[in-house]
Amino acid sequence: MPPPADFRAQIEALRPYLLRFASLQLRDAAAAEDAVQEALLAALAGEAGFAGRANLRTWLTGILKHKIVDTVRRQAREPALPPEAEEGPEELDALFARNGHWAERPAGWGDPDGALGQSQFFRALETCLERLPSRTAKVFMLREHLGLETPEICKELDITPTHCWVMLYRARMSLRECLQQTWFGK
């Protein structure tokens, strides 16, 4: 096991990574900072829990995930902000004709994996994520970024599974459409 000072330094070195991880979910620099701080304190207090594990970053990220979920849960309990214009289904409806078939068939993306090697692509993806309504984005990131299962998301945010699936569906369709417009269609 590394000596305490060394352990602390190793943890500190991972702070930027952890901050970025938390910011993607929380969209709020102060809240992300708090979650990371709590995670680092918990990590220092629980150093023994790390003994023998191979990857410090994975271990810290696991602790941070719990802190982020705590934050999301607290936020969900706070008196609701003025109800967000509930993410209108209009945008989605425009993709389909009256009979439920594509108004315009989606274009192919060729071999999209090539985009994963380009940092500009990830900027485009982030911009698309920012365009999602905030509740939709929150649910989507809990699912795809933190990897929570939908029953957990429903419980934390106090919504029904059906509502959860609808929001995930809208998020995926909007992101698909946004990436088509801002990246793959260019």
């Binding site: 993607l24 078939h101 192919g108 993306w109 999209p112 990830f122 369709m173 698909r176 990436l179």
Partner: protein, 64 residues
């Protein structure tokens, strides 16, 4: 009864979040077999999942 593209994309999305019932899987397969647009939408939704999972890694590397 054939699914519409709207219903199909909804099921494709739910298939990323829960286990689909047997009947749903059959209906989905039947539709996807004949619909290029929905096959594209399916692979694009899967790609979005993959890209979001890599987001945190990539951006950090480039911002250092």
């Amino acid at each position: 009864m054939m699914l519409t593209c709207k219903e199909t994309t909804r099921l494709v999305s739910q298939g990323l979040d829960r286990e689909l019932a047997f009947g749903e899987r059959v209906a989905l397969r039947l539709h996807l077999a004949v619909c290029l647009g929905c096959r594209r939408a399916r692979s694009q939704m899967r790609f979005v999942r993959k890209a979001v999972r890599e987001l945190v890694e990539i951006d950090l590397e480039t911002s250092l």
